[in-house]
Symmetry: C2
Subunit: 387 residues, 2 copies
Amino acid sequence: MNSAAGTMADQNCHQDMNLNGWMDQLKRIEEKTERLVLLSQLGQILNSTLDHQEVRRRAMEAATRLMKAEAGSLLLIDEERKHLCFEVALGDNEEKIKKITLNLGEGIAGWVAQKGDPLIINAPEQDLRFFKGVDDQTEFKTRNIICVPVKVKEKTIGVLEAINKKEGQDFDDEDRSLFISLADQVAIALDNARLYQELEEMFFQTAESLANAIEKRDPYTGGHTHRVTTYSLATARRLGLKPMEVKWLQISSVLHDIGKIGIDDQILKKPEQLDPEEFNQIKQHANMGAEIIDHIKQLRNIIPGIKYHHEQIDGTGYPEGLRGENIPIIAKIVSVTDTFDAMTTDRPYRRALSKEMAIKELRRCAGTQFDHEVVEAFIQAFEGGEI
Amino acid sequence: MNSAAGTMADQNCHQDMNLNGWMDQLKRIEEKTERLVLLSQLGQILNSTLDHQEVRRRAMEAATRLMKAEAGSLLLIDEERKHLCFEVALGDNEEKIKKITLNLGEGIAGWVAQKGDPLIINAPEQDLRFFKGVDDQTEFKTRNIICVPVKVKEKTIGVLEAINKKEGQDFDDEDRSLFISLADQVAIALDNARLYQELEEMFFQTAESLANAIEKRDPYTGGHTHRVTTYSLATARRLGLKPMEVKWLQISSVLHDIGKIGIDDQILKKPEQLDPEEFNQIKQHANMGAEIIDHIKQLRNIIPGIKYHHEQIDGTGYPEGLRGENIPIIAKIVSVTDTFDAMTTDRPYRRALSKEMAIKELRRCAGTQFDHEVVEAFIQAFEGGEI
């Protein structure tokens, strides 16, 4: 910098122009600084969720903001079908855009996905790679476009693009370098969310597989666990449960009968009516199931669904004879969905009821055995075709 | 900017000085730009792992680099004990520093953790909050220090600090603002890693709880699953397995006997010697276990440990009679650890062997029933007190 200062001081005749030159440079670099601060903030926003869908939404918003563009979108590669899908897009055209897919190599996004290189096109109508199909379908006029690959460990998993720089300018090298950094942050956030989601799936599938294996000792028709879980989730949606409650309900439904692992084969598989002592043993499965997961800190909230899914509103259920509002909501839901599935599948001692008959039975027992509101929500879900 | 340019042009006599002033400002802002680029890179590095320990290590490195400091450290609040622990620290003093804890409110880090506000101290010996204990114990001379809170959703979970700015300068406002941004990134990365780790623990604990429940139907002493898993991990460390292989081995060990869920109580609990037909049924547990988790994509790699843990090197095992190198390493390990635990616990038909006797038995059967190398690794772990 010192030698540059010397040069400047010598050029007295151009001082004013040089001053303006310096100030322009200063202004540009100040703007760049602001954009770098924004980039850092956007990185934080992207990474502060592990929900894959939410990361995708934030990525598209970040692209639009950082590039000062009219629209932004994220396209992910579908490995099996070898094409690109619009994951999210901003504004009114979202629904139209979501249905559009591009083959690898097709259009600007397809070119970037295939080559793995960034691309700026400031005059798209003159570029052979430009695919007018998207504009035609969305009635959106692309003036200029910047598109960069989203790479996880050198592998391109999608592309991030921003369209139509505001204030009528072209996209330039500075945009390119900032947009590449943003795409790297998007890649990391997407990958973390994917890993989290896969682990969560592994948990659910393992729990369900073990629950199924336990269920098979029972003379029920297979698939009881899975159906109870599906019915419970449909009921929860109608009741407007919070996302965390829905998650607890889901795990609870999967594991509601695990206590049966402690019940003797001879009782579990007995085709005749059980005697009172045998029935007392069967009843133990509620407490035994709760005990099995009792020490798992993260599953504390699912215990009510396992322990109390045989309680009844009028206090005649087991294991504790809880009444009405003392029965946790998760248990009230599993009670309805478990009983509905038991009624609608064959048992050694009776044939299955039709779903319509079982619904009548739920209605009849609402207020004594079952919670009114839960039965109502269940029936709504049934009538809505979700059950 | 235009009015500023006019002012500049009027001050002819000070033109050179003003030019130098502009250039200094430009230089400062260029340096800030470089640091913002670095901040963005450090954010990416921090977020590209979900391993909590690795995030902590990277946080400390990032603090040192971004602040151009001699040392950096991360202290996390231990909620139960109400004190701060040095999680990681750079350089030769790491071991000494790790043993030091600070009470909330004690020292500069303790002050920041308690107040939740950032702090710069450029003359620590004159500051009452400065706690000389750490310097005394590490023989490190603190010249100046910058310390900021690490907050997750407004809650302070720890502090990030950097000590002794290189080139003899003081920490300033720009350092503070950059360091706060870095601490925000650290908070996000730590929180994601924590969520991932908690989900992973939930998976392991649920799998282990269900495996334990299944195990209880068997007349074994309780704790078989847990011991087999511990022994397998100790053996894997001696064999130098890769981290992913260790993870598969761990899950495999937990679930190795889940197929027993399909075996009838009467056979499983029979105290006398089994007849050949009953023994054939018991043998089914290997295949049945594999079938239970067969459809779980993420658990594909653990199947060998479940399916083949009763295979023998000489081809006389079950279910497929695999020989030598055709038996996957995970299965070879579970075979040794499962048999060792079976030998060293009481069975209905015989008393437990001493561990030393069981080791002799493993040695005797190495090369026929067991893999030589695995037995060697197991014995090393045993002699090292890990088993």
